[in-house]
């Protein structure tokens, strides 16, 4: 089974594609077979970061059924073991996918024959992004240490949490009182705590089941564009507070120092960790990659035990 890491953020321009490309490269250099999937539909530019000028087939060929299997459109990059699937030529309306198409993509992605699948998603809490984000229990959220970014980061976390909560209720046996209340069309604005209250009220036996299910989700957080004068414990604080106030798990992966050579390598269309492997920022990225692998090992061990 491949491991899927969706990467998203609350706010745009915080470095999602950069981090996706970097982590993908570092995984590949450890000998893993990795594919990067650009799912920032309508605003894709991961190929530029990877230095691929004119990608041909991509997600579009899979959606219009010119190719049967998604792995056929995965193209190699300059890093060995690292492959790439673009969404560049998907039609202009693709940003609003049909539900069936979305399910088709998700199903195809989970079947890709790779060790690691990294999804570069769009920013913000629209349904496409949230549903792609929910394909895995180990989504990675990027933010920068600015109030605007953190505000949207929390908004994204809350939206993803709510989406997962609704998914759990939809897919598992909760009694009809719960399902009717949660999915009734006239109650459009229901927040996560409201739903948990509904379960407590109408189906109290399922409370622990719901909490266990929620705790299976392990949100991961990265702070990008980190500068010297900023509180170093910011990420740890966010981790603490989220673990306290949500039923899911949160893990802070680390800060990535700001480096002027990062925008420079974007301009020159080079992969930063490839070109500057010994800078502080590259070291930060390596540490984060190791932490991801380590936590992966722990969860797989835990699941084997149970």
């Amino acid at each position: 089974m491949p491991v899927i890491y969706p990467i998203s953020s609350g706010k745009g321009g915080v470095g999602k594609s950069f981090i996706a490309a970097s982590i993908g490269t570092l995984f590949a250099k450890l000998g893993k077979k990795v594919v990067l999937v650009d799912l920032d539909l309508g605003a894709s530019n991961l190929h530029t970061l990877l230095g691929i000028k004119n990608p041909k087939n991509g997600l579009n060929s899979f959606l219009n059924q010119t190719v049967k299997k998604l792995d056929r459109v995965a193209v190699p990059t300059i890093v060995s073991n690292l492959f790439f699937i673009n969404s560049l030529y998907c039609s202009m309306e693709i940003a609003n996918l049909y539900h069936t198409q979305k399910l088709k993509i998700i199903r195809a992605i989970t079947k890709l024959p790779f060790d690691y699948i990294i999804l570069d998603l769009g920013a913000g809490s629209n349904f496409n992004t949230l549903d792609f984000f929910s394909t895995s229990q180990e989504g990675i959220i990027i933010c920068t240490p600015e109030p605007t970014s953190i505000e949207n980061c929390f908004r994204f976390i809350k939206a993803a949490y709510l989406r997962k909560l609704k998914q759990i209720i939809k897919r598992h046996a909760f009694n009809s009182a719960v399902k009717n209340t949660v999915f009734s069309p006239n109650k459009t604005k229901m927040e996560a705590p409201d739903i948990i209250d509904v379960v407590l009220k109408h189906d109290p036996d399922r409370e622990n089941f719901l909490k266990n299910k929620l705790s299976e989700f392990k949100f991961k957080l990265i702070i990008n564009q980190f500068r010297k004068n900023i509180d170093e414990t910011l990420g740890d604080k966010i981790e603490t507070v989220c673990n306290r106030h949500f039923y899911s798990n949160f893990q802070f992966l680390g800060n990535i120092s700001y480096d002027e050579r990062i925008p420079e390598s974007v301009v020159s269309k080079n992969i930063y960790v490839n070109k500057y492997p010994y800078t502080t920022s590259s070291a930060d990225l390596k540490k984060i990659t190791e932490k991801i692998i380590k936590s992966r090992r722990l969860t797989s061990q835990a699941s084997k035990v149970s």
């Binding site: 240490p145 109030p147 953190i150 505000e151 929390f154 908004r155 996560a192 705590p193 509180d231 910011l234 604080k237 966010i238 603490t240 507070v241 306290r244 106030h245 949500f246 039923y247």
Partner: protein
Amino acid sequence: MKSFAGLTYYDILNIPANSSFIEIKRAYRDVLAIYNDDSLATYALFPSDERDNLLKTIEGAFSTLIDKGKRVAYDRMLVRSGQVDKSILSREEKKKPIPLFHGKNLTKEDDLVGRVKRKYIEKKVKKLSKNILSKDLISGNDLEALRKAIGIEISEIHVVTKVSIAVLKAIENNQFEDLPSGFYLRNFLKSYSEILQIDSQKIIDGYLKNISHVQKNG
């Protein structure tokens, strides 16, 4: 989202229940750094009324735990409701300083007194002490003989009386030039006699008389 409902004050400050005053203060500062109004880490996470409630609870936790009386009452409440282990109540006693020489020495003294008393049942010892008291001049050798008959060591007398071993030896060996002057000597002899449970006034008088007698005839 979960609120602080169901958490103890210790959970809220994220510290174990046996934390010290300084640890509580530090934890309070750390928690405030997360929940305060101007904290970047929770910017826009909580609606303002929810944040106010959280801050009020944190404030309540801190003001209870730094007040000794309130904290003890709160701990009792936690133990009664079964939220924490009983052991936190004994924390207060544990933290008190242990008095120097307390305990061990007390039992030693009791022990020594008892041993000497039991020895006095023997006729030999009784006779010896009577014999000494009937003397006009009492020398160190008499005291040493009595001590040996009772069967205790100089070091044991030292532990209880705190009179130095050198002085005790000087008393028994009649090394008058090594003994301190009148007032101190009286007190040392008094302590020594009390351990041997013999009339201390008579011993002091007899011993001092013996000293002047020896020095006159010396």
